[in-house]
């Protein structure tokens, strides 16, 4: 798995390889303070799931999609609402966003 790119950097051009998928991970609002970047483009092996992303983020940023203080979405939907939840398989071009739990404005 490759991680690359952050604030003010050109996005790393990922090489299309059939055995990998490209996933964009966004770090929004106060989560950005922990990652020091807005987003990353990451390649995962085809067949990877949200659980793999969770492992990758844990290792890289000590954050977890499963943390109740954090909200995480896959293509705009909360991962807990997906039928396969954390085992949801990913496809090329998926977008994951992490942000602090919301409580009204």
């Amino acid at each position: 798995m490759n991680g690359a790119c952050g604030d003010n950097h050109p996005r790393e051009t990922t090489i299309d390889r059939p055995e990998f998928i490209n996933v964009r991970i966004k770090y929004l609002s106060a989560i950005r303070d922990k990652t020091n970047r807005r987003r990353e483009e990451v390649q995962f092996p085809r067949g990877a799931t949200l659980a793999d992303v969770d492992s990758w983020i844990r290792n890289r940023h000590s954050l977890s999609l499963r943390d109740r203080r954090i909200m995480a979405t896959l293509n705009g939907k909360g991962w807990m609402q997906l039928p396969e939840r954390i085992e949801t398989p990913l496809v090329d071009g998926d977008e994951i966003a992490l942000f602090p739990i919301l409580s009204g404005g």
């Binding site: 929004l28 909200m71 705009g76 909360g78 609402q81 942000f99 009204g104 404005g105």
Partner: protein, 608 residues
Amino acid sequence: MFDGAYRGRLLRIDLTSRRSTIETIHEKYIKTLLGGRGLAAKYYYDEIQPDSEPFDNTNKLFFFTGPLTGLPLPSTTKFQLATKSPETRMYLCSNSGGDFGPQLKAAGFDGMIIEGQAKDWTYLLIQDDKIVFENASAWRGYSTEQTRQELQNALGGHRGGVLSIGPAAEKLVRISYINVDTRAFGRGGAGAVLGSKKLKGIAVRGTGEIPVADQVKINEIRRAAIQQLKTSRANHTKYGTPQYIEVINELGCMPTRNFQTAFFEETDRIDAHMMRSQYWKKNYACYRCPVACGKVCVVKNGPYKGARARTEFETIGLLGPNCGIADFGAIVKANQLCDEIGLDTMSTGNAVALTMELFERGLISTADTDGIDARFGNAEALLAIIELIGNRKAIGDLLAEGMHQVRRQKPEWSPYILEVKGMPFAAYEPRGFHGNGLTYGTSNRGACHNVGGWTIRAELQSGQYDRYALEGKGELVRTIQDNRAYVDSRGLCTVVRGSLGFSDNPKGEVMKAATGYDFMPELMDIGARVYTLERLILNREGIRRRDDLLPERITNEAIPSGPTKGRILTQDMYSIMLDEYYQARGWSQDGVVQDDTIERLGLEGLVE
């Protein structure tokens, strides 16, 4: 029955006769409605006739603290207001922080009713049981802040709580707010009710101790809550509500150019990180609040250098992206202008956005805007239109009447008007969270995300409700509304409620320690009772299903761009949620509270 928290007294002030009386509050009302919003609704129900007009001298303002207001717990700052709204022309409930609520209770009162109409401009000084009426004619035209300072001075240097209105309220602009120690009763135009009564402001100072039933337990709860808030609300302390700007935009729910779309391309320039790094001056905290979520912003350079305001998410969203504005300095300036004149930033943002869309569509011209090039993104136009509203000039005179009147006077503009029951939208796009659409439709004061029930967390995180699902949203919205209704009746800020166990499965230890009375397991029932009492008021004022529907843009137009592109909430989709909601509430399919629901909720003796 109560060993603490309540004072059991109500101060009634008649501006016509310049007299005040003190009344006892029935214990039964407190037991069944808790305080705050519940008691305000009860007194409104009893004393405001359905045909009473907002600016009639028959209209009144009902201010009520909750049992926790002023207690030595985190952020026990809140108190509630009910009145006939100038903006929506129906029942209005509103809540505010600041020092006024705690000071009123320290003065010995759980509530205060303002009625009648002063002959000349007046201000009130309340120092414990001493009530003084003073002439405020010299303060006409003063901003909310100037008035606040004058009232603070009138307390002779003692710290107190202060309500004040600005020049917009004097001109009966129907989207005027009441300033409360620089917090606000923001929505619904309550400032104009004070204006109609020629009451420029009130200062209160209480020197009494507010008793609590179990001081040791309260101290223990306070220490634990403060400790928890240090971590659970750390983001509020650092960023305040502007932390939502980036998130709501990424979720495709940012009102943009009068809700024409739901994604704003330039949020980098107005988000919480920009605020914190370029504009943040200091934090502001309400009474006893360790979170201090208020962010005082100051513009340090550029055309708006020196502008200063405490800018919140809703204000940024509606004066910013919804008007096409990506200049944070301009938003701060617009916020400050609204504050000084005394305009609700949320309704004002909607009014400016409507003006800009009408202008761009050629439906109005510079002849209507006093020569302003009212295009989206024009910061000078934003400021100028705010002035037009505050001064009731050109199109501002119509906008000052509120969306209720705009729609009636200009029905051809309906496709561009975003409101429910006359109250313009909050800064969340309901096509992106369908539960939020039901929130706007069924909120007891119009399109409000607070009273109506803030669903977004549940629609993303609960594991039960997909944001675009329809089934289950009726029950979800009912639950959140009832939760909010009892929270608003207690006198505690919603930001800290989790630290004291006030969820939709509440813990009762705080209430027991404060009052000596065990309100459990009835807190959620009290919430349902309060919400239904408010709906009974609305039914009496003519509100039915037709009034709970969403505007055309939401039901007829799909979002054209961004993460929620293609999403729509059609009338048929919405009706599925609304039917389920009425069923969950025990209301008829026309939105009328049924007799068996009145009985089930124990409202019979309260609504004879």
